[in-house]
């Protein structure tokens, strides 16, 4: 049986104008929302290595916050990113 762990992912607008938030976990889309407010996905992920891809569309150099929470494993982590020419994407491996 594959071990799983609880996981919460958040995307939150900080400054400027954010149009769209996308988040993928191991290639599966878990967030697809407009960027006007904080968006959250909560679920279980495999204990093995997990790949998280974030794609955000907005205007110029708007900023957003990526939040990662693995209860019981690590403290909450949050990272602030700035769009470049209205777009940003990043990939994180847990």
């Amino acid at each position: 049986m594959e071990l799983v762990r609880n996981f919460t992912l958040t995307l939150e607008p900080i400054s400027g104008s954010l149009s769209l938030f996308y988040a993928f976990i191991n290639g599966i889309k878990v967030i697809q929302s407009d960027g006007t407010k904080k968006r959250t996905w909560t679920g279980k992920i495999p204990d093995a290595q997990v790949r998280i891809k974030i794609r955000v569309v907005g205007i110029e150099d708007a900023t957003f916050k990526l939040g990662i929470d693995l209860p019981g494993v690590a403290d909450d982590q949050s990272l602030t990113f700035k769009l470049q020419g209205g777009y940003y994407e990043t990939e994180i491996t847990l």
Binding site: S15, G16, S19, K29, I59, Y87
Partner: protein, 303 residues
């Protein structure tokens, strides 16, 4: 005005209490618009069914719209403004084709039905002692399509073509007029303002198209927009056999990057309204400018 706002917020509280963060979501919904003379607020709930991995979202949004202030005749009034309350049921389907890489695209289809009933008082003899009261029913139907396309790269152009059609059958009170009162016991003649005429209704049909463009650089987007408004005869249901007006707008939106206050846009546009058929109280060609400030919005939201 304060009383109406209070009712709006009180109505929201039960929905806030029920909000959940699961695939089926029930969330509060509030939308307010205002201009120098007019204002209205929409409040209610939003129910979402999401199949995120397939890119499908279905939304049901029952709301109530209430005007916050009264308004006078204005050539730009045809859209969602209504002078009395409305119950609104909106249904929305979004298909998002965006994958982990490559281009970003989505399509949104929205339909909404509006219904309201209101009592109108008027004084046909010009005397407050002879009050007439009538209850009339207003309704509207609106269909909307919004698409979004970009390459999903830094400095890529972003496009959002948007199309909207709206039919409305909206009863409005007649304007107040000055009435000279009979001489009183002190020998003074005074005037007062009264609504003399019965309320009226003119059906309207308004297709509109706008193309939102962000060039990929800078803090400005551009939105050329065209409306073609058909207004029918008083009391009729057919909007096509009387007055037609073409309206052109060219919006420029600025997106400030103030921290802790995201998703604000400030827009300005000149407008040109040309009467192409029939007659009305305005000049054949009307022109002017508009300014708007929107909060909690984005590049995608226009109509």
């Amino acid at each position: 005005m304060k009383q109406k706002l209070l009712y709006s917020f009180l109505m929201l509280f039960p929905f806030i209490g029920l909000a959940q963060d699961v695939k089926f979501k029930l969330l509060p919904f509030i939308h307010g618009t205002t201009s120098i003379k007019d204002g209205q607020i929409e409040a209610g709930s939003e129910l979402n069914w999401e199949k995120t991995e397939k890119g499908n979202t279905f939304t049901l949004r029952p709301t109530v719209r209430m005007p916050l202030t009264t308004k006078s005749d204005n050539v730009l009034q045809l859209d969602r403004f209504s002078s009395t309350w409305r119950g609104i049921l909106a249904i929305q389907y979004t298909k998002d084709n965006t994958g982990e890489s490559g281009k970003i695209s989505r399509h949104l289809f929205n339909g909404q039905f509006e219904y309201g009933s209101a009592a109108f008082k008027y004084y046909p003899t010009g005397s407050k002692s002879n009050e007439q009261k009538t209850i009339e029913t207003s309704y509207a139907l609106e269909l909307k399509y919004v698409a979004f396309f970009t390459k999903g790269k830094p400095e890529a152009k972003q496009f959002s073509p948007q199309f909207r059609i709206r039919y409305s059958y909206d009863w409005k009170a007649a304007n107040e007029v000055g009435v000279v009162n009979p001489i009183n016991s002190n020998g003074v003649i005074a005037t007062s303002s009264l609504v003399i005429d019965a309320p009226g209704v003119k059906p309207t049909f308004s297709p509109a198209f706008s193309l939102q463009i962000y060039p990929g650089k800078g803090s400005f987007s551009y939105s050329p927009t065209v409306y073609y408004d058909f207004t029918g005869k008083k009391g009729a249901n057919n909007p096509f056999d009387n007055l037609n007006r073409l309206r052109l707008e060219s919006w420029i939106f600025f997106y400030p990057s103030a921290k802790d206050n995201p998703n604000v846009k400030i827009g300005m546009s000149p407008f040109l309204s040309i009467r192409t058929a029939g007659t009305d109280d305005f000049n054949k060609v009307e022109y002017g400018g508009m300014i708007t400030v929107k909060f909690g919005t984005s590049f995608l939201q226009f109509f």
